[in-house]
C-alpha cells in the first residue's frame, strides 16, 4: 500500500532555512471498528513512536469500553506525560488498491495533536514501512508478524 504525504505549511521561521513553504507528513487514514460502529480517522505514521494512540472520543463513538482497557503513562519527547488506555482493536487500512485488516493493541488518550499517532505497537509492527523522503510517499508491506486478512 502506498500513501502520499499530505503537505502542511512550513513555519515561516523555517522557510528561510529550508527554502520550502511546506513539509510533507505521512498521513494514513485508519478505520477503527468497535461494537457500536466504525470510523475512518487520519493517523500520522511515526516510526519513532512506541505506541499507537487515538483521541479518546473515538473510543466512545465506536463503543469501546475503556473501563476494560489497560492504563499506562506515556511520555513525550518534551517530557510531558499522558495517560493512555490500551486495548485490542480491529483496524483496516487501504490505499484503494489493497486493503489490510487486523487486530492490534492501541491506546486512547486526550491528544493535543491533530492526528492519531501510528507507532510501533499495534500498527508499524505488522508492516515493513518504507518512508521515502524524496518522493514523499510511505509504502506499507505486511510482514511476518501480520496475522490479519
Amino acid at each position: 500500500m502506498t500513501f502520499r504525504y499530505t503537505q502542511t505549511p512550513m513555519p515561516p521561521a523555517l522557510q528561510l532555512l529550508t527554502g520550502r513553504t511546506s513539509k510533507g507528513r505521512p498521513i494514513i487514514p485508519v478505520m477503527l471498528y468497535g461494537p457500536a460502529g466504525s470510523l475512518l480517522w487520519d493517523g500520522l505514521g511515526d516510526s519513532g513512536a512506541d505506541w499507537t494512540v487515538f483521541p479518546e472520543p473515538l473510543a466512545r463513538q465506536v463503543g469501546l469500553d475503556l473501563r476494560h482497557a489497560v492504563p499506562c503513562i506515556a511520555r513525550g519527547v518534551g517530557g510531558g506525560s499522558l495517560l493512555v488506555h490500551y486495548l485490542p482493536v480491529k483496524m483496516r487500512v487501504s490505499d484503494g488498491l489493497e486493503a489490510r485488516e487486523w487486530t492490534g493493541i492501541i491506546g486512547f488518550a486526550s491528544l493535543t495533536a491533530r492526528y492519531a499517532l501510528l507507532g510501533q505497537l499495534g500498527f508499524l509492527e505488522f508492516f515493513t514501512a518504507n518512508f521515502q523522503g524524496d518522493l514523499e510517499v510511505v509504502e506499507l508491506t505486511v510482514n511476518s508478524r501480520y496475522a490479519g486478512t
Partner: protein, 80 residues
C-alpha cells in the same frame, strides 16, 4: 469498496487547504470528503458530527475524520 488510488487524491487535495482556511475549524472535529476537496461537516462534539454525516446520507467509511486542536496544529507530535 475504496476507489482506486483514492488516497492520492485525498492527500493532494487536502494539502491545498491553507492554515488560514482551517482557522475557523480550530477546536472542531472535521469530516472530510474522501477526495479531500471538501469539509462536509464539522462540530466540537464527535458524536454530533457523526450524526451530521449520517444526516447527509453518508456512512462513516465514506468520510475521513480528524480534529484541529484549539490554537491550530502543533508542529511536533511525538510519543514514546
Amino acid at each position: 469498496m475504496d476507489e482506486p488510488h483514492w488516497h492520492d487524491l485525498y492527500a493532494t487535495n487536502k494539502s491545498k487547504f491553507t492554515a488560514e482556511e482551517l482557522r475557523p475549524y480550530h477546536g472542531q472535529f472535521l469530516a472530510w470528503s474522501k477526495r479531500g476537496d471538501r469539509i462536509l461537516a464539522h462540530d466540537a462534539d464527535l458524536g454530533e458530527l457523526v450524526r451530521l454525516v449520517k444526516a447527509l446520507g453518508l456512512r462513516c467509511d465514506e468520510v475521513v475524520f480528524d480534529r484541529i486542536p484549539e490554537g491550530g496544529e502543533p508542529e511536533i507530535a511525538l510519543c514514546q
